[in-house]
């Protein structure tokens, strides 16, 4: 039986009981029988009157729903933005998501040799890529940068809020400038970027926001009041946006790595780092690629939402706490 789409609408306002976005259509078969059907939100912006497809029954707890599946295969190149993507964890995430087939919008505050290397690795995987200069601590810069990404790729499916800095000091020595700088990049940056991508994600039927928090945000760390606060803040953002955006098909998850082998971790004085690792059940540093694999899993596993996933070699369960 061939069904033809007679009219359709894209519902952007999630209504209970389903609390999610989908398209709704009226379809007609050769004999003129009609049905009202649901169409997956991945077809947002791609439906046309007269499109043909199949109608299948789908069981839901609220009743059996008729679903229209257009025959026309829709190939949608998915797009990921990674902030602070030039080096370290960001670079590994960009490469891993490229491996998963995502077009990569790599963003950082400056274009560096690291950026060049990451982009080369991404291109070698055969996906489309672009660099966008974004200073996440500036709303204007974020909005301009996200605008450029939309201009080039037309959509955003994944945002990885990875950009982060440290300005470590004991509290008596931590200046208000140290505090502000870290909060602005690590916390306000994630807010600005999330805020800027959400309308685009809604228009294209959903997405995933991954916040790179830190184990320090969960258990604290001496000398990192600003950093710990910013990373705890990301947990709050994650829980809140996971509730707020779920109806729009946007999942929000945080990842809380322990010490990862990056320039940031290696900048910690060796004696402190050694002492830290001694407390870990697996006393080594985490590879950026290991974090990147978890990000890819979070992006691909549609059941993950509103959780903070530690990737810390068991550091957080060790005692005494770091």
């Amino acid at each position: 039986m061939v069904w033809k789409l007679v009219t359709y609408t894209e519902l952007y306002t999630p209504v209970p009981p389903y609390k999610t976005m989908f398209a709704i259509g009226v379809v007609e078969d050769e004999k003129g029988s009609r049905a009202i059907v649901r169409i997956d939100r991945k077809y947002f912006g791609r439906l046309r009157t007269g499109m043909v497809g199949d109608v299948v029954d789908e069981w839901t707890v609220f009743g059996t729903v008729k679903k229209f599946i257009p025959k026309e295969e829709v190939k949608i190149p998915r797009v990921a933005i990674i902030t602070g993507g030039s080096g370290g964890i960001g670079s590994a995430i960009a490469i891993e998501l490229a491996r998963a087939g995502y077009s990569i919008a790599l963003s950082d505050v400056v274009y560096s040799k690291d950026t060049e290397r990451t982009l080369e690795a991404v291109r070698a995987l055969g996906v489309d890529s672009a660099f966008v200069t974004i200073d996440v601590s500036s709303r204007e810069s974020v909005e301009k940068g996200i605008g450029e990404v939309i201009g080039k790729f037309g959509r955003v499916d994944v945002l990885v809020n990875n950009a982060g800095i440290t300005r470590d000091a004991y509290i008596q020595r931590m200046t208000p400038e140290d505090w502000d700088a870290v909060i602005k990049v690590n916390l306000a940056g994630a807010f600005y970027c999330s805020r800027a991508v959400v309308p685009h994600m809604i228009r294209s039927g959903g997405g995933v926001i991954v916040n790179i928090s830190s184990i320090v945000g969960l258990v604290g760390n001496v000398g990192q009041t600003n950093y710990a606060a910013s990373k705890s803040g990301l947990v709050g953002i994650t829980y809140t946006l996971a509730k707020e955006l779920a109806p729009y098909g946007i999942r929000v998850v945080a990842i809380a790595p322990g010490f990862v082998k990056t320039r940031m971790a290696l900048a910690v004085p060796k004696s402190i780092l050694r002492d830290y690792l001694k407390r870990s059940p697996i006393p080594r540093l985490i590879e950026p690629e290991e974090v990147a694999k978890l990000v890819r899993h979070v992006v691909e596993n549609e059941a993950l939402n509103g959780v903070v996933i530690p990737i810390d070699l068991g550091l957080a369960i060790s005692s005494p706490k770091a």
Binding site: T7, L11, P14
Partner: protein, 383 residues
């Protein structure tokens, strides 16, 4: 014998009223009884009809005995009617038939809805959704989507644009500025409408009527002159059904029941659209007002937007539509909506609407529909 309306009252519609549903009902019962020029006693009211869509919009049911007790005539009978957004029109239909058939002398009609009883508009929409076809309900299709299906079809068939739809909202908001009882008295521009977010493409936030709280009432009498020297006569009322599901209709762009109801009312009253001076139309979404122009005979098929652009339906036009501001600006408290339309026309035909008075209005038409036109009530009134 000509049945007439002898009193009417409405609270100011609000997006979120501080009053409970029963307080709104109480105010309307007192206000309506008091509005009768020559006075009306409790014992004169021998029947009450209450219009209300859902107890999830107010938290009460079984309201007829409550209204009877407020009236103060224990011998009065009553009932509650529900036909989705056409509950108010249905209440008029029932009251008119009770009186003209001699089953009642004077019927008090009260319509109310306290939609803010639901915490969010999403939850209010879930309650409303129950008024669709069972397939639409199970699918999870809110009314904005069902009207969006109609709008998309209409745009495909007649080449109407989102701007055409926006003009309905702009007109009705401009009218609402003159109505102190309107819930949202705010002037809006075409650009405002076009910039408002899509709720269910191609319909936007500003294409949608207001989820609101409100109540209104009127009295239908067998001997109107006994109570006032200037009654408003009910010429005819028609209630027609269509298949509840949008998808079941051969022409999705047509609201068939509205066309049939209008034809029936005109046939019964011996009047035509050319005799009508003022109209209150059910603009639940902008698209419904455009299609209503065509179903009621104001415009040819596909030319709804044309007459709107020509100003025919503007406040100063030849056939002013929704001088009250309509559901778009005045508000759409479901059970009160149709009742409020009757109240507006009662005041218009008596020349009591102040700034929004349509000059020399002698005959008025109301069109109140439920669902996506599964129930339509059309009525014609004269002074």
């Amino acid at each position: 014998m000509k049945v007439g309306i002898v009193g009417a009252y409405s609270v100011k519609y609000e997006l979120r009223s501080e009053k409970e549903a029963w307080e709104l009902i109480g105010e309307v019962v007192r206000g309506t009884l008091k509005s009768v020029d020559k006075g009306i006693s409790s014992k004169d009211i021998d029947f009450v009809v209450v219009s209300n869509f859902s107890d999830r919009f107010g938290g009460i049911l079984h309201t007829a005995p409550y209204v009877v007790s407020l009236v103060g005539n224990p011998s009065a009978r009553g009932l509650r009617v529900e036909n989705a957004c056409a509950s108010g029109g249905t209440a008029l239909y029932v009251a008119w038939n009770l009186v003209r058939t001699g089953l009642a002398e004077n019927v008090l009609v009260v319509g109310y809805e306290k939609m803010s009883y639901q915490p969010t508009s999403a939850e209010a929409n879930e309650v409303l959704m129950a008024a669709g076809h069972p397939d639409e309900v199970v699918l999870g299709a809110p009314f904005v989507s069902l009207y969006a299906l109609i709008a998309k079809s209409y745009m495909d068939k007649y080449g109407a644009t989102e701007e055409d739809l926006a003009l309905v909202a702009v007109k009705n908001h401009e009218n609402g500025l003159r109505n102190p009882l309107a819930a949202m008295r705010r002037k809006i521009t075409v650009e405002d409408v076009l910039k408002s977010p899509y709720i269910s493409w191609p319909l936007k936030l500003y294409d949608s009527s207001l989820i609101s709280d409100g109540a209104a009432g009127f009295i239908v009498s067998r001997e109107p002159r006994k109570f006032t020297d200037t009654p408003v006569y009910v010429e005819s009322v028609s209630l027609v059904h269509d298949t509840p599901g949008v998808f079941e209709r051969p022409d999705i762009t047509e609201l068939r029941a509205m066309k049939y109801a209008a034809e029936e009312v005109f046939r019964a009253s011996g009047l035509g659209i050319s005799d009508i001076d003022v109209l209150e139309i059910h603009d639940a979404f902008t698209i419904s007002e455009l299609i209503a122009y065509e179903m009621l005979g104001l415009a040819r098929r596909g030319e709804g937007a044309k007459i709107l652009r020509e100003g025919v339906t503007a406040f100063t036009g030849e056939k002013p539509v929704n001088p009250s501001g309509g559901l778009k600006s005045k508000g759409h408290p479901i059970g009160a909506t149709g009742v409020g339309m009757v109240v507006e026309l009662y005041w218009q035909l008596r020349g009591e609407t102040g700034d929004r008075q349509i000059k020399d209005a002698e005959r008025g038409l109301m069109e109140n529909h439920g669902g996506t036109g599964g129930t339509v009530v059309v009525a014609v009134f004269s002074r």
